[in-house]
């Protein structure tokens, strides 16, 4: 059988089972609200969201690789493009754009215009330090770690804080070569 080429984000999204985005949005809101009630400190909630995102990311990458059929990315530029165009589309139904590459090609920004997590949301005064969508940064970090890239993901712009779009900065810290758990000569 001839190898199947990588599928576009739209094609995959059309083929996966989908649910109403509002259920997703409201469930996420309920999660953040529970965290805020339990942890009370905004910083703690940010960290917990990131951790939850990380847990999701390490499992999400398997599904992503299985459904999207992408070939190995040649460099970090391609990785970022694939995340923005295929990854976001496949799971959240929105496309992101990549921009602001730095000179070495290790740091870029992923910009989201549309974000299903934040429909109906407004941050009250008491939660001004909250990165409401911090789960996304955890997801990206976790997914990339499973494909041997250690990254740091931070929020540059956030609509809930008054900016005009969502901008995530993804910085490649290092590529970790794959380690085999068994020695060859044993």
């Amino acid at each position: 059988m001839a190898p199947v080429g990588p599928r576009s984000g739209d094609a995959i999204f059309a083929n996966v089972e989908r649910v109403n985005a509002e259920l997703f949005t409201l469930t996420y809101g309920a999660t953040v609200r529970q965290l805020l009630t339990d942890l009370e400190e905004v910083e703690e909630v940010n960290k917990q969201l990131d951790q939850m995102g990380y847990n999701i990311g390490i499992r999400l990458i398997d599904e992503f690789l299985a459904k999207s059929n992408v070939t190995r990315c040649v460099d970090f530029r391609e990785t970022a493009e694939v995340i923005a165009k295929v990854g976001f589309k496949m799971f959240l139904g929105v496309t992101a754009t990549v921009s602001n590459w730095d000179a070495d090609g290790t740091c870029c920004s992923i910009i989201l215009e549309d974000n299903p997590l934040v429909d109906f949301v407004e941050l009250p005064d008491t939660c001004q330090g909250l990165y409401y969508c911090n789960i996304l940064s955890g997801v990206i970090r976790g997914a990339l770690e499973m494909v041997s890239m250690k990254t740091e993901v931070t929020w540059i712009r956030d609509v809930l804080r008054g900016d005009d779009a969502y901008e995530l900065q993804v910085k490649l810290l290092k590529q970790v070569p794959e380690e085999y758990p068994y020695k060859d000569d044993e």
């Binding site: 989908r18 109403n20 259920l23 469930t27 809101g29 309920a30 109906f120 407004e122």
Partner: protein, 198 residues
């Protein structure tokens, strides 16, 4: 999370037009999120009853908001004031919007006047969840039970709502039944007076 009268953002979220509700995300995105919600709550509790209660509380918040949203968008700001009306609203409209299909069945309980049951062959939230034996009768459908309770409570029909597994012959996975037990005041005519103020 809507702050009253706070114009912190440059455009007030209340000014944004309401979406038509047709946007979708992948089922796996929701399943991942839900699994994280359950896992997080597992770390915060010591026993199953507490876990179910927390999931139900999360669902309650979703239900209250779903009612507001649907009443405004789909029903033109009209609310159901009768018991059967609100039950069929939950069974068809709410289920259709949240899960993409109407619920499998709506039945009246035979033993008690105030009990109704909504059944579903496989709840969306339970699709990718398996319950280990040592958790006994725990059902993640408690989240959906919470949604139903949130809708009913906000509509003025207080009830106790729980989710149960009902084994079905010939089917490997049991069916889930959401049991709704209405409070005393709903069944008396006082309910009509209470719900008239919208």
């Amino acid at each position: 999370m809507i702050g009253v009268g706070k114009i912190k953002q440059y455009s007030n979220v209340l000014d944004k037009p309401l979406s038509k509700g047709k946007q979708e995300v992948s089922l796996s995105a929701f399943a991942f999120l839900f699994s994280e919600l359950v896992q997080y709550n597992q770390t915060q509790v010591d026993n199953i009853a507490e876990l179910e209660r927390r999931l139900e509380d999360a669902g309650y918040a979703v239900g209250a908001r779903v009612l507001e949203l649907l009443c405004h968008r789909d029903k033109g700001n009209r609310r159901e004031t009768r018991l059967l009306g609100i039950l069929s609203f939950v069974h068809s409209t709410v289920w259709k919007v949240l899960f993409g299909k109407v619920a499998d069945s709506l039945e009246k309980g035979t033993e008690h006047e105030d009990e109704y049951m909504i059944s579903e062959k496989e709840l969306l939230v339970n699709r990718f969840i398996s319950i280990p034996k040592d958790m006994g009768t725990f059902n993640c459908g408690a989240f959906v039970a919470g949604i139903v309770r949130g809708v009913l409570d906000s509509a003025g029909f207080p009830a106790v709502v729980t989710a149960h597994f009902v084994p079905v012959e010939g089917q490997q996975r049991p069916r889930t039944t959401i049991l709704i037990k209405f409070a005393e005041e709903v069944l008396t005519s006082f309910s009509l007076i209470v719900t008239l103020f919208l």
